[in-house]
Symmetry: D3
Subunit: 73 residues, 6 copies
């Protein structure tokens, strides 16, 4: 009976990306735990950048300084 | 000191239905546990159907296929 | 697709009370929203009284002072 | 690795107040626990007053009756 | 800055399975969203079967009736 | 009506530290928002290090490698 909540900043996540998150996370959970996907719910919660804090600062302030959360290459 | 979070898909829940959810759930909790309702908080969180996944699929995709979460009669 | 989280202090809630909470809350939710109970999950989270704060104080400190969360009669 | 969720009613909290909440809460957590603020995330979730229940009533109903959550002086 | 909470019933999930859940979910999230894994936190919450309700019933009651959440083959 | 959840790894947080977290966080929230502390609840959730993932790794694995979350001096 897994339930998964994904919280991320609201920065233009597309419907297709959400579809991939739901499919991918459900796949990991049900494979690792051998759980029925019909008992597996995933909820995505998008948070305004004003409402997320990291290192004591608002993410919207960090973004204005050019600091992103992108993967390093 | 109970706190109750209700997460559901954002599909036209009315103010009156929310009022009934709050009253009904508070009633169950305070009666079963003999708790003071003045210490009981209920939070309803409505989730876009793009953001809820079930069985590995987006609920908005399921709805477009005609699959609902309605009670069976 | 409702999901309900109930947080309460760990103060001797019995298995039978949990059963009543689950049945009662599921009943309210599925009736008010006309939702399929097979898509309705309820999670009870019991919190140690050291870990719950109210009015700026630890509930375990409040209990030691004789302050309860019981319903007033 | 602390994560802090702050839920409050959506009643005109300003960007500056959110900045103060994030800075203040991060400060308390990292000082009390001696944790690296770069591992500390704060998420603020604003809840419509129709969606928050207290004492079995919708906060929007309480507000219409003139009942606020303001600090008593 | 994603944060992921995974709630599942406490039914003998091993440390190795938790390791796989953390690695697998982080991989999906950071790939789909192109996010830095150093900003990605995953929290697993194991819930006693007495404390999880499905279809109005306690999971521990369902298990005693031989009903599992295992994947169908 | 604020509700605050603090999630942290279970690594020997004392009752006194919890008391300070509750008092300090309640103080920040009620001062910044001018809210009644009698409507302010704080819940601390301690998570086993096997159950917290950061950067795709279990915190218990990170700790065994000598990596901590302590504040840098």
């Amino acid at each position: 009976m897994p339930y998964i909540k994904i919280e991320l900043t609201r920065e233009g996540v597309s419907r297709e990306q959400k579809r991939e998150l739901i499919a991918g996370v459900t796949n990991v959970i049900t494979n690792v735990l051998n759980k029925d996907p019909k008992l597996t719910h995933v909820v995505i919660s998008e948070i305004d950048t004003d409402n997320w804090g990291f290192d004591g600062e608002q993410v919207s302030d960090l973004r204005e300084k050019g600091i992103t959360a992108d993967k390093k290459n």
